[in-house]
Symmetry: none
Subunit: 252 residues, 2 copies
């Protein structure tokens, strides 16, 4: 697949950005590296002249930017999602360095839409947001001063994306590619499975939504470690549906 | 030689920067990657509040910045100098990609002081300036929009410097450890889960042992990719048990 096609499948998602200047800087960083699809989740102030100023020649990306009320909606249709995380989390997804995670992102882009997600300038991604990601990436920084600017973080990762996409060799060796036999499930399909699972667990009394504890994050971490295929989501939901209606005859 | 010592021998030189905000952004970019020596050649406006604002927690680098009237003076004592160049020049020094040139820069830093030189925002390095460099580095960009912000260019190269300097050892060991919180389940524990799952699927009618099809291999392939932890097997079996005995109260 041509590098340009891979790049066109990568959306950059900024969650709750506070400063419009950073949105502009992110757009410029993206465009210099050949990326074009910018998604904003609840930006504090957008559009804004400061965003246009910092974007310089990348104002077209701002004009085409997609705005969503929640990260979940911004990720609809994505088969692989990597979130930037400055720290290790107890129940977060697997975390890796940029080069490794970018290689996985590009491998997934050969199959469908993918996303790189960045959190708010001050707080980063919330635990809820990072749980919507299949993997997390951490940019190595000076332990005494790890305060990477949002636009700079976008720049570094988009640069790694371009370097990997245009490397002489295919971005990911065969050893990293998993032999998928069915298309990867989209984000929405996987979320549909989680909702179905939660509903069954609630009905049976295994899960109490009023005292959720850490059950849901644990299950998301479990299934999030692999990229579920569409067929697999259908099978899992079939199992769940059969427990709800035991007289139903499964088809397989 | 310790990575921190190598980093301390790298000076970042900005030639005739026009916008004080970019000087601040460069200082922040440097500090996040563990570099500290900032040299400015004839800055148009410095010090400046806009530089301080963009530097955030890296104002100390601005306060210690060395200011020179010419690039030649800023390079005094350097044993190896790499200049950023967006283009190939007829009579310029050898030009290479960031990873290659950063490797050479670090090799030279083991011997003495070295410098990474960045030109003016609009014009880049002049021919006279680039000829003071031993080598040139070009950051790969989108040919249709190669307008990399000065602070972003500093960020990308300082990031490559840090990645290379800490290549042999884990830069932030703990933060990148894989977050497995429970021991991996044993083979027997996972088999116990498969038996439990098959039993539930059979009872509910989703699975017919007399016409098994490929359902079981598909489920084994799914959960086999995850490498289940012991706690996770317990959770999954808890979910299954609750569907068998919906009045039961799940414990977790």
């Amino acid at each position: 697949m041509k590098p340009e096609v891979l790049l066109s499948r990568i959306r950059i998602v900024l969650c709750r950005p506070s400063h419009p200047g950073n949105i502009g800087a992110a757009a410029r960083a993206m465009k210099t590296m050949g990326l074009s699809r910018l998604c904003l989740v609840s930006p504090k102030q957008f559009p804004d002249p400061e965003a246009d100023t910092r974007a310089t020649g990348a104002v077209d990306l701002l004009q085409q930017a997609e705005i969503y009320p929640s990260l979940k909606e911004a990720l609809a249709g994505a088969v692989f999602v990597v979130g930037l995380s400055a720290r290790r989390r107890d129940l977060g997804p697997e975390i890796g360095e940029p080069r490794e995670m970018v290689a996985r992102l590009l491998a997934a882009a050969a199959e469908g839409e993918v996303a790189l997600v960045f959190g708010n300038e001050t707080m980063g991604l919330s635990n809820e947001e990072i749980q919507l990601c299949h993997a997390a990436v951490s940019i190595p920084t000076n332990p005494d001063f790890s305060s990477l600017n949002l636009g700079s973080a976008v720049q570094v990762l988009c640069y790694e994306v371009r370097m990997a996409a245009f490397a002489d060799r295919p971005p990911v060796s065969d050893t990293l590619a998993t032999p998928f036999v069915s298309p990867t499930a989209t984000h929405s399909e996987v979320e549909g499975f989680y909702e179905h699972l939660e509903s069954v667990m609630t009905t049976t009394g295994f899960f109490n939504p009023e005292h959720p504890g850490r059950l849901i994050p644990k299950l998301r971490r479990l299934f999030g470690r692999i990229r579920l295929e569409r067929d697999e989501v259908n099978i899992l939901r079939g199992v769940l549906a059969a427990t709800q209606n035991p007289t139903g005859h499964g088809k397989h």
